[in-house]
Amino acid sequence: MPDELENRLERALRDAPPPAADTTERALRAALDALPAAAGVHRRRRRLLVPAVACAVAFVFGGVTLAATGGRLPLVGPAPRHHRAPPGSEPVSTPGAVLPRGAIAFSAVAAGRAWLATSSGAALHGRPLSALAISPGAVWMVEGGPSGLRAVGVPDGRSGFTRPVRGTALAAAWAPAGIRIAYVVRAPGGDRLYDMFGNGTHAVLVAAHALPQAPSWRWDSQAFAYIRADGAVMIHNVIDGATSPLPSGCGLHHAAAVAFAPYGGLLAIADHAGRVRLVDTLRHGHGTCVAGAGPGQPKIAWLAPRELVVGTGATITRYVVGLAGADVTTVPGRVAGIAASPGGRRIALAVRDASGEVHVIEARTPRFSEASHPLQVYRVLLDLGRVAGPVALTWQ
């Protein structure tokens, strides 16, 4: 027989406040979108998706994740309903960013604006966007704004999926295999990190408090690293949904930047004090402390599976895994962003000069040697003017 406490519990818990109407409406839309297609429709879609499956296989590791996600097809590209982009929302082909030599896509996002240059001719010139992520091969881009995320075809501007979010999308990162997208939303209560399929469905909250920067995907697209709001480095495995903290080391307790190597499980972690740590996440978290970079907001770019550069303050520091020491190169201003070319021979740097103007330059990657070499700048890719905050650069 229930006692007085149990009666009070029943009353208090059953009278709990209800969910908000907009939450209910959003959840209903998302749930209906997740419904599996009926048998007949499913067969028809399969036929349409054959070419797309071939593309996914070309991304080598997609199949592994496909199997792990129950055989559904989280393909790069739009949800089944296609429609043309509304007038005025197509990528604008106006001069802006210069495409680095040999690149197929180069993008910059700073202070709520985005720039893009591609080999297909599509471009964005300072479009008001809070986030921009380019898919592998620059086939699709995901634009983030106050109403959510929207996939747009890069070459033709056709509209793909839209993913409404509560808050403003701040950053997004496409998995290397193109089958998932992780993104951060600024919502009441904190910056929240989500993971979803590459077609904009099945979004899952990964963390309710994360740093407002794009997470870094592992090369096999099966996990990504992010930094929790308290500075802890977390690894989220998209196969089993498990999230685990990486033990701290090297006195690095509040990470400010993380980046996975382009192959393997090496994760570079850096903090504001200039500490840099390399952790092999596939080998029991074995970590190595490397010679410190300068203090400041760190930016990391991998040049090769065992070589990386870290930009902090007015220097960039190049490391080779397994070799002691580092090569420090001074840059003409403070580093606000960094990206490496796919081959690692060149880098793009966003540099804030003494007057506060930010210039994005293409430079030769500094040599690794005992003596420092001056930075060899090839050209200016983009002038951003006086923009505040970090500059997110990508180079494909």
Partner: protein
């Protein structure tokens, strides 16, 4: 016209009926959200967890055994997702959550509010059984099946959770005196 059973709605939803799926959603959303809300202790987390649970449940409708009741299956997904999230955010759910609860439940009677705060202060494992038992009215046997635990473990967690809540009430009363 008779109200369709959950099994009938699941069957129609599987065949592609969005109306049936919407009806199923309307029927179970409030309880799923309340479970998520009570287990996570946070309204904003509950929004995500409950939505995510429904997305997963609907995506997996084809594998759902229609002979079994829908609600416990859904609640199991909600509970598991809630616990996953709490585990990954453990250090961030605590005083902050209590502060939010106080704001949300300011209009509740003083005793109810304190009791709900005490429930949020329980460990996630104990909180879950309390919410399922008293918030949703599941029997200990149903909770055991839902959480894949022995019934004895459920009874023991319930008893310990109630003891802890009584102890907190005693401490509070002693503090007042």
């Amino acid at each position: 016209m008779h109200a369709q059973s959950d099994a009938e709605l699941v069957g129609r939803a599987r065949e592609g009926s969005r109306d049936a799926a919407a009806e199923l959603f309307a029927r179970h959303w409030p309880d799923a959200w309340r479970v998520a809300r009570a287990v996570t202790g946070r309204r904003d987390m509950a929004d995500d967890v409950a939505q995510d649970a429904f997305e997963r449940a609907f995506a997996a409708l084809g594998r759902f055994d229609r002979r079994r009741p829908f609600a416990p299956w859904l609640h199991r997904i909600v509970v598991n997702r809630s616990l996953d999230l709490i585990r990954s955010e453990r250090r961030l759910v605590g005083p902050d959550a209590l502060e939010r609860l106080e704001g949300e439940w300011r209009d509740r009677s003083g005793e109810d509010r304190q009791l709900l705060e005490a429930v949020v202060g329980l460990s996630p494992q104990r909180r879950v059984v309390i919410v399922l038992r008293y918030g949703l009215g599941h029997s200990p046997a149903a909770i055991a099946e839902l959480l894949e635990l022995p019934v004895g473990t459920v009874h023991s967690r319930l008893a310990r959770a109630l003891d802890e809540l009584r102890e907190r009430e005693r401490e509070r009363d002693a503090g007042r005196a």
